[in-house]
Subunit: 278 residues, 2 copies
Amino acid sequence: MTAAPVGLICGGGALPVEAAEAIERDGRPLFLVGLRGSAPAEIERFPHGWVRIGEIGKLFKLLEGAGVRELAIVGAVQRPALKDLGFDLTGLASVPEIRRLMAGGDDQLLRGVVGFLEGKGYAVRGVHEVAPGLTAQAGLLGAHEGTAEDAAGVAAGVAALGALGPFDVGQAAVAIGRRIVAIEAAEGTDMMLRRVARIAEKGRIRRDGRGGVLVKLPKPGQDLRVDLPAIGPRTIALAEAAGLSGVAIAEGHVLIASRAETIALADAAGLFVAGVPA
Amino acid sequence: MTAAPVGLICGGGALPVEAAEAIERDGRPLFLVGLRGSAPAEIERFPHGWVRIGEIGKLFKLLEGAGVRELAIVGAVQRPALKDLGFDLTGLASVPEIRRLMAGGDDQLLRGVVGFLEGKGYAVRGVHEVAPGLTAQAGLLGAHEGTAEDAAGVAAGVAALGALGPFDVGQAAVAIGRRIVAIEAAEGTDMMLRRVARIAEKGRIRRDGRGGVLVKLPKPGQDLRVDLPAIGPRTIALAEAAGLSGVAIAEGHVLIASRAETIALADAAGLFVAGVPA
């Protein structure tokens, strides 16, 4: 008798394929469902199907056909416009519920999706549970380490993000010295890092040479089974462009996409990458 | 015997002249000190002198010569680069203190400046004390009013900014529905509003038509004698471009520059402007 396959509902980026490879290395069967417009074509290397985000009926049919009982959601999903969801019949029945969910923050939307899947009897896991090797471990992950000032910035960022927890906002912040210079809300980490580069160019940030840290954590109380925060090569490139000296992420709770490339880029740029308790 | 003149240390924008006019209407003598590179030439309509930010010796000489004992700081001052301060001899003696202050947040820098002036025996007032008519009163200030959803957004913004108080960050936030979509840190309110316009264009904000509020407040514990938050015509134009439906500011604690023009612009754009308790 074969074990039931792990289902992966796949958004964009390198993580879906990396998660699939990690599960395959563990010898577990798996089945991928690609979200059209988000997931990469490479998922077709594995047993798979494709759905639009609103095709909930088709999603359940695919999962059932593959014998999936346990699944994880992995990869970036653009918060879609309601009209772009492509609802099928099962989807349409849920529209008022979905519309209500989408009026709130991301957390609320994603908790709703998980609740919906669980309501259908699926066990929803976090990517950090089905593929734990993709998250940051504690301590320094690359060749460089931060200064005492960087440590103070990390502490400031962790505290400020903690304070914002009740508001379903802020997975990331940038601190330079102990001064918080940027807080992420709906714009995402990339746009926040580009902003830091811009205000630094304008001379509105005080620092001697390179300095400052990106801090990225799950929101307090965030359901880690969905939208686990992630960094990757682009994060490092943008942190370097913003003049930062490093990146601190929550150990065990932030994914590193394209890990080898990410760490190599940080090493080449002189940036530290650290897993911190959070 | 004539009353001692009120001193106004003048940064950029319309507020220094508006404050001077308000004080003049009250029949009080006044003396303006313009910060070169920030204050507008129009301050020369009043008794005045000019200094660079670092010319602390010259500043005290001017204030003494005019008989000023009580003063306020008004208008925008770009956080300067240390090398641009133009220190004179008195200034140079304070450099280590100033360098230490500038490593912290804006609050800390400005509290330091006030402490320095007080140490020299000057009574430092807030602009809202010497020219109270320049701040927002409670309630609706223009022709339009917000919806219940706008009210929920204002409450969310006020709460999130309150939570950030201990971190010397965040005088403003944008909420759409009850979702916080942007929080201001070092970038300033204008850049934050431009960001909201950009992420709305990208379809990353959920709303039916126009909606959302800018909330602008003093930071909790902020010394209101310096850097009182302000809105003006550009704030309204940027809020309109971001698709917002209104602006809520702390009654008595947020300045409105070019008030008649600001309210007229909001009226024409269909935006509410409200003074809220904070």
